[in-house]
């Protein structure tokens, strides 16, 4: 059994387990175990991957498994990973794992909730291991659809509206993506031969320029919507604010990364020429995303809105970095994806836990929580500091790699854009500190706060897991970048091979 296929299989088995279990209370346990196994699996995978690399395996993808699925269209179930996907898989396992524990108190339709949640995770895992555009697309949609139910059923506020909006916008994006994928497929053999959905195979040819001009924007926007590309980001604030805790975590933490990952693995990798020609449009958009999201976050009053806008800003940075098309910036993008995944998951987890106690997410209805729930508050501060790019936490590593990388671009335009994007770090500081000041610090406002208990064991498990990884990346980034950086070489070869510079 291929280790990668297990990543799809185990969640499915977990779902089966959840369905079988008689007692509702055991549902959580099963989910916890399932995702725990997943977490261990991804650790093993990371280990095996590094070991394979060190033993001199230089093939582009490792653990490749290729099964023909639909022969006539040359659709395969092809899986394989490189450093980037391994990192994303690890991220997913971490977030899912902590997501399960963050939703330990779920008591309405529990079984259904965990099934949907793990189904979502299945889609994400499948997406990251896929080498075949078709299966990639399949898993992408598979990941989006459970969102509707998760938000619609277990959400809060205008949940139906938000769920619908989110689903429609993301599926709209996937619609564009579908056209893009078909376009790539039918242009994947310009010199004759078999058409292919396989990313690696397509990357060895050059898609005709005329086709690239059409399909690059489609693909990029398709993925970009999920990556909260301005102006297609509006699903994000509503969606996040209505979603239940674990879903926000998973969505902002992992699902939005599908956008960045896809834009990078599909749009740019397969169509670098058009990417270079058209990147200026998207650089403008992503730069706007970065700054605009940050400014948007300043005046929000709902914690989740703040974080949603913050995600717009941070995810904008991912796409921004990818468009720079150089090794460092792309590497930065990967780290940023992971970093943002972890810290935004942490944020949402904490927001959920705070909400569980105060029953409001409006910052001006709360205050002085540091005194009553110090553990959660400290975690929140750490998340905030990671978000504003404090050295020693993951955010700094990611942002700096992006900025330095982007600034190495030979064109002035890109560098000016970088300077504008860099300015977001101040705005980020403003909104993060504003929230911390209003929410956590200051005198504690209400007497009822005295009754709050600090984090329970599952909450601690959930948050600490995330914090450990945030700090790990922040303190020892070279471990991660050496893994992801080497995997970017094929991209760079392809990009450099087209003699841009």
């Amino acid at each position: 059994m291929n280790i990668l296929s297990l990543f799809v299989l185990i969640p499915l088995l977990t779902i089966a387990g959840i369905v079988m279990v008689k007692d509702i209370r055991h549902v959580k346990v099963v989910s916890g175990i399932g995702t725990g196994i997943q977490l261990i699996m991804s650790a093993i995978l990371t280990f095996l991957y590094i070991q394979a690399r060190q033993s001199g395996d230089t093939s582009e993808m490792l653990f490749v498994k290729d099964l023909v699925w639909f022969r006539s269209l040359n659709i395969h179930f092809a899986v394989g990973v490189d450093g980037v996907s391994v990192a994303m898989i690890a991220l997913t396992s971490i977030v899912v794992f902590s997501g399960v524990f963050a939703s330990w108190e779920m008591d309405y339709l529990t079984r259904e909730f965990f099934i949907s949640l793990i189904l979502l995770a299945t889609g994400v895992f499948g997406f990251f291991i896929s080498l075949d555009l078709f299966t990639m697309f399949l898993f992408y949609e598979l990941a989006v659809i459970p969102m509707y139910l998760l938000i619609g059923i277990w959400g809060s506020g205008p949940k139906e509206y938000s769920a619908m909006k989110l689903t429609l916008m993301l599926m709209g994006a996937s619609a564009l993506l579908l056209v893009g994928i078909l376009g790539i497929y039918f242009n994947s053999a310009p010199e004759g031969g078999n058409l292919s959905f396989n990313i690696i195979e397509i990357s060895r040819t050059t898609i005709p320029m005329k086709a690239q001009y059409i399909f690059f924007p489609l693909t990029f926007i398709g993925f970009g919507v999920l990556g909260a590309l301005f102006p297609f980001h509006t699903w994000s604030p509503d969606g996040h604010s209505s979603a239940p805790t674990a879903v926000s975590m998973l969505h902002a933490g992992v699902l939005m990364k599908l956008g960045g990952y896809g834009a990078f693995r599909v749009a740019i990798f397969l169509m670098p020429e058009a990417a270079r020609e058209l990147s200026w449009i998207f650089i403008i958009l992503t730069t706007i995303s970065v700054v605009y999201g940050a400014f948007g976050a300043i005046v929000q009053k709902d914690l989740k809105y703040i974080n949603a806008y913050s995600s717009v800003s941070h995810c904008g940075l991912v796409l921004f970095a990818i468009l720079m098309m150089n090794h460092t910036a792309m590497n930065g993008a990967v780290i940023q994806m992971i970093s943002h995944g972890l810290m935004t998951a942490l944020f949402f987890a904490l927001i959920g836990m705070i909400y569980g106690r105060t029953h409001t997410r409006m910052i001006n209805e709360m205050g002085g929580l540091m005194k009553v729930i110090p553990f959660l508050s400290v975690c929140y501060v750490i998340a905030g500091l990671a978000s504003l790019g404090l050295p020693g936490l993951s955010g700094f590593v990611a942002e700096m790699t992006i900025f330095v990388g982007a600034f190495q671009h030979p064109d002035t335009f890109q560098r000016v854009a970088t300077i504008i994007a860099v300015s977001s770090i101040v705005i980020t500081a403003v909104y993060i500190l504003r929230v911390i000041a209003i929410l956590l610090l200051g005198p504690s406002e209400k007497n009822s706060y005295e009754l709050f208990s600090d984090a329970r064991w599952y909450e601690r498990l959930s948050t600490v897991t995330l914090i450990v990884f945030i700090a790990f990346i922040g303190l020892l980034p070279f471990l991660l970048t050496s893994m992801t950086g080497a995997s970017l070489q094929p991209f760079m070869n392809k990009i450099l091979g087209m003699n841009i510079f």
Binding site: R71, I75, E141, L142, L168, A175, L176, V179
Partner: protein, 473 residues
């Protein structure tokens, strides 16, 4: 004629035999024991369905008037599966008091329409095609008006027969023109004699209108919603799946075998009507409150997607259309089956009645959800694969704009499918449909549909088997 010849046209012969068996059972069984006719009919039909999969020789009979080949065989088998599901689903409803004295008529009519469709698909001559078409239509009008105490049903019947009479008139007029320009009504000969001149194009357009009416293509679709709403649920599902599927089948056969010469023209026609169909169907579906009517508009828009597979005129398109119909049969019958189950149990068919359904009837809700997702083209259910192949077929020929329009339309469709899902899972309801236990036929039918919704997609042999047919193009 020899025994082998009978094997070639065994579908039609067996169906006719079933009609006669039911008729005999109706006539000769004592009036008290008539209930059994339904069982006999279904058993016989199930036998036919299975028998249909036996390998069959290809060939032509009656001087090219009847053609059998693998493509047609698979089409007929697909229709048989669908029809069998419809029959099983209708058992509960037929068991009602008001229907009890008309059970065998129901089977006779339904099976004879299926016979008509089979003849239509196997036709090698426009006369056979026409007779098959009428045989597939006229009894259906009666079935649409089957509900004894329903004004809606009566209205559905009259609307269907009048507009179908008009459409067959138009179609015949077109055939006359084609006849005048080629001098033959045999498919094969006509294909060689067509020259792509104005009169032939006009003839084709008349023919196209007639077919478009059967497939519910905008602007020839307006009868659909009214008839679907008025007709009994099982007939609605039959109309929307089998009748439409058969029409699509014969349409692609005729297009690809008779009209390749004027492909440029029909591609334009299909392009325009496809866009209109998807869009209008979706726009109407958004606001529907009656589930049957809702599914009617949804099935209209599905027809628009099906046209995407046709437009390329390529083998991939043909395969994807056939495959899609198969998927569509399971999906739509799943949805209609759920609607029928709820309608039988509670008599409720409105969207608002579905509020909170999941709390009381989780099973039906899940099946409905799966079916709707399949219709919307959401993975991992089969509809996703079906749509993907349709779009791929159109994209292969460079119709990217059309594909884009189609995929954007799927978003609208997703919206209204989700409205139903929302009603079932999210909306609260003080007076939900009470928990009910379905009887075995309903469960069986829904189970088959569910299995089909999953398996036809994942199991690539299904598609590959269809794809491996040569289609003669």
């Amino acid at each position: 004629m020899s025994i082998g010849d009978f094997a070639i046209m065994r579908h039609e012969l067996l169906l006719t035999a079933v009609i006669l068996v039911v008729l005999a059972a109706e006539i000769f069984s004592p009036s008290g024991k008539r209930k059994s006719t339904g069982t006999i009919a279904i058993a016989a039909f199930a036998f036919i369905t299975v028998a249909g999969f036996l390998p069959s020789p290809a060939g032509t009979l009656f001087g090219n008037m009847y053609i059998a080949d693998k493509t047609r065989l698979i089409m007929k088998n697909i229709l048989n599966i669908g029809a069998l599901l419809v029959l099983i689903q209708s058992v509960t409803w037929l068991g009602r008091d008001e229907n009890r004295d008309r059970v065998s008529e129901y089977f006779i009519l339904l099976i004879s329409t299926l016979t008509g469709m089979n003849f239509m698909i196997s036709a090698g001559h426009f006369l056979m095609f026409y007779i098959g078409l009428e045989l597939a239509t006229i009894p259906l009008t009666a079935l649409a008006a089957y509900e004894r105490y329903s004004n809606k049903s009566a209205e559905a019947g009259i609307k269907l027969i009048l507009i179908s009479a008009l459409s067959s008139g138009v179609l015949l007029y077109g055939l006359a023109m084609l006849y005048g320009t080629t001098g033959t009504l045999y498919f094969e000969e006509a294909a060689h004699l067509l020259k792509n001149n104005n009169l032939q194009t006009l003839g084709f357009i008349f023919f196209f209108s007639g077919m478009a009416f059967k497939i519910s293509i905008v602007p020839f679709h307006l009868w659909t919603a009214d008839v679907y709403e008025g007709a009994p649920v099982s007939i609605t599902s039959y109309l929307s799946v089998i009748s439409k599927g058969a029409a699509v089948f014969i349409f692609i056969i005729v297009l690809f075998t008779v009209f390749p010469v004027i492909m440029a023209s029909w591609q334009k026609a299909i392009y325009a009507t496809s866009v209109l169909t998807m869009t209008i169907g979706n726009l109407f579906a958004i606001r529907q409150q009656n589930l049957k009517r809702f599914l009617a508009f949804s099935s209209i828009s599905q027809a628009g997607y099906i046209f995407l597979g046709i437009i390329g005129g390529n083998a991939a398109g043909m395969a994807s259309v056939i495959y899609y119909i198969l998927v569509y049969i399971f999906s739509n019958l799943g949805a209609f089956g759920a609607v029928a189950a709820i309608s039988n149990a509670s008599g409720r068919e409105d969207l608002k009645d579905y509020n909170g359904l999941y709390r009381t009837n989780p099973g039906v809700s899940l099946i409905m959800t799966l079916a709707l997702f399949s219709l919307a083209g959401i993975p991992p259910v089969a509809g996703f694969f079906g749509k993907f192949f349709l779009f791929a077929a159109a994209a292969e020929k460079g119709y990217y704009l059309l594909v884009t329009i189609a995929v954007l339309n799927t978003i609208i469709s997703l919206y209204y499918y989700l409205l139903v899902v929302k009603a079932m899972f999210i909306n609260a309801n003080e007076n939900p449909v009470e928990s009910f236990k379905s009887d075995i036929p309903t469960k069986l039918a829904l189970g088959i549909c569910t299995a089909g919704i999953f398996l036809t997609g994942f199991a690539s042999p299904v598609y590959e088997a269809i794809r491996n047919l040569s289609f003669g193009i």
